[in-house]
Symmetry: C4
Subunit: 281 residues, 4 copies
C-alpha cells in the first residue's frame, strides 16, 4: 500500500469517526449510539441475579462482542488523530479506555464486582455522539444563567447544609434511639431527607415535640426551595433578554480538526481556527 493511499484512507476514517455531517459519519454515530445503549442495558441486566443465572452465557458473549467493538473503535480513533497522546489524555479518551478494559481485566483477575460497574461509564460517551450542548440553543442561555447564578446557588446549598447540621443535632437531642435518631450524622441525614422534601420515613420523629420541630423543618424546606428557583428564573430571563440583540445566524458545526481535535468550527470553515490545519484534506 503506497503512502498517499494510506493517508487518504486515514483521512476518510477520520471523517467517518469524527464528523456527523456525511452520510457514512451519521451511520457510524447511529451504530455507536445503539451499541452503547445496548451495552448499558447488558450491564443492567447482568446485575439482576435471576436474569444473570438464566442467561449467563448470552450475557458473557454479548459483552465480549461489545468489548471487541469498542476496542476496535478505540484503536481507530488512536490511528486517525495526528496527536494520539492528546486523545488518550483527553476526557473522552479516558472514558473510552475505562469503559473498555473491565472485560479484559476480568480475564486475569476474575469477575470483580466494582470493575463490572465501571462499564456504566459508557453512558458518558453518549454525550459525545449527541453533542448535546448544541441542542441547548446557539446562545447557551441556560448554561450562562447557571454559570451566572453559580456562586449564589453554592452559598444557598452551603446554608442548607449548615441548617441541616444544626437542626439535625437538635433533633438528636430531642428524639431517642427508638425513632432512628441514633447519632448526629444519622440525624443530619434525616434533616436533609426532610428539608429536601424527599421524606423516606425510615427515620421519623415519634415524640410530639420532635414532630413540632420536624414540622418547622418541613415548612422551612418547602419555603427555601423558592430561592434557587427564583435565582435561576431571574438569571435565565436576564440572559434571554441579553442575547436578544446578538447575531445568532452563524452556526457552529460538529466536525473536529484532525490535527488538534478542537471542535465547533463555523459552518463553511475551510481551516481549523485553532491550529490552521486544513479541515477537509
Amino acid at each position: 500500500m503506497d503512502k498517499p493511499k494510506k493517508r487518504y484512507w486515514k483521512a476518510r476514517l477520520h471523517e467517518i469517526i469524527y464528523e456527523a455531517d456525511t452520510p457514512v459519519g451519521k451511520l457510524f454515530d447511529i451504530i455507536l449510539l445503539v451499541t452503547i445503549i445496548a451495552s448499558i442495558i447488558l450491564v443492567m441486566l447482568e446485575s439482576v441475579k435471576t436474569f444473570d443465572t438464566k442467561y449467563h452465557d448470552f450475557l458473557n458473549i454479548s459483552e465480549w462482542v461489545i468489548t471487541i467493538l469498542f476496542t476496535l473503535e478505540y484503536i481507530a480513533r488512536l490511528i486517525t488523530v495526528k496527536k494520539p497522546y492528546k486523545y488518550v489524555t483527553s476526557f473522552y479518551g479516558i472514558i473510552d479506555l475505562l469503559s473498555t478494559i473491565p472485560k479484559y481485566i476480568s480475564l486475569v483477575f476474575g469477575g470483580i464486582h466494582a470493575l463490572a460497574a465501571l462499564r456504566a461509564l459508557r453512558l458518558l460517551r453518549i454525550f459525545r455522539i449527541l453533542k448535546l450542548v448544541r441542542y441547548l440553543g446557539a446562545s447557551n442561555t441556560l448554561l450562562k444563567a447557571l454559570k451566572a447564578s453559580r456562586v449564589k446557588i453554592s452559598v444557598f446549598l452551603f446554608t442548607v447544609i449548615i441548617i441541616a447540621i444544626i437542626l439535625g443535632t437538635i433533633m438528636y437531642l430531642i428524639e431517642g434511639d427508638e425513632a432512628g435518631f441514633t447519632s448526629i450524622p444519622a440525624s443530619v441525614y434525616w434533616c436533609i431527607v426532610t428539608l429536601t422534601t424527599v421524606g423516606y420515613g425510615d427515620i421519623s420523629p415519634a415524640t410530639p415535640f420532635g414532630q413540632f420541630i420536624a414540622s418547622i423543618v418541613m415548612i422551612l424546606g418547602y419555603g427555601i426551595i423558592a430561592v434557587p428557583t427564583g435565582i435561576v428564573s431571574a438569571e435565565y430571563a436576564t440572559q434571554t433578554r441579553a442575547s436578544k440583540g446578538k447575531d445568532e445566524n452563524v452556526q457552529l458545526n460538529s466536525q473536529s480538526c484532525s490535527n488538534c481535535l478542537s471542535e465547533k468550527h463555523r459552518d463553511g470553515a475551510e481551516f481549523c481556527y485553532n491550529c490552521g490545519e486544513k479541515l477537509h484534506p
Copy 2:
C-alpha cells in the same frame, strides 16, 4: 323519506353533535359529559372487589346501558360526517372505538381484566367536549411557552436520567442487598425516587457512606428542580410580554361626584365616599 328531508336531518344531527353554540348542541355536550364521568366512576367502582361482589348486577347493567349509548353516538358521528373514513382514523375516532368495544368483546371472550380497563380511555373524550385548549387563553401563552422550552426540557430530563443511571450504579456498589439495592435497575429506580424528591422509603440506604451519597443525590435533586421551573417561568414571561395588549383592572375609577366633584371612587361604588350623594342619578 325524500332526499332533501334526509339531508336536513343529517345536517341537524351534525349540528347537535359537533357544535356547542346552539342550545341543543350544548345539551348534547352536557349529557355526554355526565355519561362519560358516570362511566369512569363505574369502571373505578367495578375494580373495588367488595363493591363489585355486592352490586355486580347493577354495575353490569349500567355498563351495558352506557356501552349502547356510546355505540349510538359512534354510529351517529359516522353518519353525519362527510368523510367517515377520516373520522374513524382520527385520534378521537380511535379513542371512541376502543372505549366502546370492550363490553362487546367480553360477550365473546368473557371479562378480560385488561380489556375492562381500556374503558378508562373514555376520560380522553372529556377533552373533546370541554375543548380545553380554548380555556388556556386566546393566545395560548402557556402552550407556546412549553413549546419554546421543549428542547431545553428534553435535554434537562435526559441529563436527569443519565445522572440517575450513574449515581444508581454507584449506590448499587456501596449498598448491599439488605437495604434493597438488589440490582442496578433497582438502584436506578431508587435514584429517580430520590432525585425527584418523591422518597417512598421502600428502598433506603442503611450504611453511613450510602446515606452520605444519598444526601448528595437529594440536595442535587432539590437544586436541579429549579432548572425546568426557571425555563418555563422565563419563556412564559417572554410569551406574555409578546402577546400584550389587554386591559388591566383598575381599583379606583375616574368618575367624579356630581355634587362635590371628588374623584377616584371605587369600582362599583353607588354613592360618593365624600358627601353621600348618589353617583348615578
Copy 3:
C-alpha cells in the same frame, strides 16, 4: 335609659367591635385574637387522650368560659349592626355561630366527636381580626396574580387529575394486589401521591415494569411542577410591573359600615360607598 343615649352606646360598641383604628378597638381585637388561639389550643389538647383524661375538668371549664365569651361577642355583634339578618347570613356570621354552639349542643346530646371538632372553625375568625389582605400590599399584587392565573391553574390541575386516573389505571393492570394496588381508586391515589412528589410509600411498585412506569410518573411530576410555578411567577411579575405606574397613595382601611357591613373604605371616607350611610355617626 333615653333613646339618644342608647344609640350613642350602640355606636360606641360598634366602633369597638368593628374598627381596629381606635385604642379600645385595637385592645378588643388583641383580646379576641388571644382567646381564639387559646381556644384552638384547647381543642387540640382535648383530642390528645392522655392529656384529656388527666386534665378533663380544666379543659371542660376553660371551654365553657370561652364559649360564653364568644356567645357574648356574638350577641354584641347582633345588637350593634343595623341589619342583624345580613350579619347572621354573612360568611363570618355563620362561622361565628358554628364555632360557638357545639358546647351548648353537647349539653343536650352529650359530647359528640364531630361536633367538638367544629370548634376548629374558630381559626377562620383569625382572618377577620388580622384583616390579612391588608398585609399583602395595597395593590394586592399577589391576589391579582393568582386571580389572573386562576383559569390556567384550574386547567393544569384538571390535566394532572386526568393523567393520574389514566396512569393509575395502567398501574392497576401492571401491579398485583400484593403491592397495594388493590383497585383503580387506590391506584389513582398512589398516582397522585407520586405525581405530587409526596411519596408515602404505603403503596409502592414491586415489579420491575411497575417501577419503570413509576419512574416515568415521578419524572413527569417533577417536570410539570414547573408549570404552575412558571405561571404564577410570570403573572406576578406582570402585576408588579403594571402597578408601578398607578397612583397607589389612596389606601383602603379596615373599618366596616354599620348599615351594610361592607369593608375596605377609602381612608378619609365619610360615607359608605355602598349604601351611603354615614361611617362615623
Copy 4:
C-alpha cells in the same frame, strides 16, 4: 515591657484576628476554619456509639486540644478589642463562649448529653470567617429580594399553617386511630408532612374517603408551592433590574474596627464610618 510596645503588640494581634486582608490574617482564618470543621466532625463521630467506644481516648484528647485552642482564641479576642463587654454580649461573642465551655462543665458535672451537643454551635462561627454575605454579590440582590417579599412569605406560611390545622382536624374526624391519626396535633403534623410534599408515610390514610381528602391536600400542596417561588422570582428580578443602574464599583471589605467592632468598611477607608476610630493604627 514598656507601654507602647504592648499597644503595638495588641494592634498586631487585632489585625491577625479580625482582618482577612493581610497574609497572617488569612493564615489565621484558614487555621480557624480547619479547626472548626475538625471539631464539628469530632462532635459528630462522638455521637456514633460504636465509634465512641472504640476511640474514646482519642476523641477525648482531641476535644481537649480544640477546647484549649478556642479558649486561647476567646481570650485573645477579649484582649484585643477596646470594649470587651461589647464583644462578650455580641452574637458571635455568645456563640464563642457557648461552644467553648461544655468541656469545662463536663469536668465538674460529668459528660452531659445536651451540653456536648452545644458544641455544634461552632458551626455558626464559620459564617464569621467566610463572611458569606460578600459572596452574595455587592448589591446583595438576593437578600434584598427576600427582605422585600418577607411580609408576603409570612402571610403565605401563616395561611399554610391555618390550612394544615383545618384539614388536619377534618382528617382526624375521618380516619380512626388505626391509621395513626390519634389526635388533632398528630393529624396537623400529618397534614404538614403532606402539604410540603415530604410524605414520610409514618401516618397515611387508610379509608377511601381519607385517601380522597389526602389527594386534595397533596394537589393543594403541589399547587401552592408555586406561590413563594413566584414571589421570590419576581422580587429577585425586580431587584436585579433596580440594581442595574447603580454604581457598584466600590467594594466593602471584611476588616472590623478595633473600637466598635463594626464591619464592612469601604475599600481604602482610613477611619471607621461608625465611630471615627483610625482603622490601621
